[in-house]
Symmetry: C2
Subunit: 134 residues, 2 copies
């Protein structure tokens, strides 16, 4: 992870969303964040949460996780970890990410009760065009 942009304005909403993301609770959906922030700013709108999560993500301050499903999840944490997802019931379990030469085999050591079948790996970066625009 690395910084790749700066926030122009730090509004109350944005600051509190960021603070909320930096606490240990992980894998928050936009709606999770909305519910949490609402306790401090009762009239914040869900649209604002979405807009800010995207901005914070693009600034490199939080991660946007794909997590297999449709609903995106956001993670303000820094420590690297992976996930196993059950092909049948969609249950997700964390995998500690250490020394993985043979990825599938290594995953077995970080997880119990899962039969590993496959994995998906996606790199995140900035393409030429967008780098120029910055």
């Amino acid at each position: 992870m690395q910084k790749s942009g700066l926030i122009e304005r730090m509004t109350r909403q944005r600051r509190i969303i960021l603070e909320e993301m930096q606490t240990p609770g992980r894998h928050l959906t936009a709606d999770d964040v909305y519910e949490r922030v609402k306790q401090k700013i009762p009239n914040i709108s869900l649209g604002t949460v979405y807009r800010n999560l995207e901005i914070l993500h693009q600034a490199g301050l939080i991660k946007k996780l794909t997590m297999g499903g449709c609903q995106k999840k956001y993670d303000g944490g820094m420590h690297r970890h992976y996930h196993v997802r059950c092909i049948k019931c969609d249950k997700v379990q964390d995998v500690s990410a250490e020394a993985f030469q043979d990825l599938n085999k290594a995953a077995l050591h970080g997880v119990d009760s899962f039969e590993i079948i496959d994995h998906e790996l996606e790199f995140i970066g900035i393409c030429d065009k967008c780098r120029v625009k910055e």
Copy 2:
């Protein structure tokens, strides 16, 4: 990848969807599949496509890709490859998956014009509970 179940009935719709998935075109959305299959079965419904993609996925015959965005994509291909996604514009490019000790560094060799920032890795498997049910 591996087989992990069998299809009970092979309807015309299911067979043609599967055939369509086995051609080289990759990263098809449900709607892409719908459009293609409609050329052979004009009155097929989108719901049927969704239902069958899920069934084929659970049978281990096709992969369901997360791909970062909300829209799920399906891949009938067998050869392993990864993706780079631009954090800004969401452009996706394939990465050939060979010898990657240091994953981010290795990705650089499979891709041009991207600045790699991070990656997401997700394992897919079957959990205890679901294995028992089978």
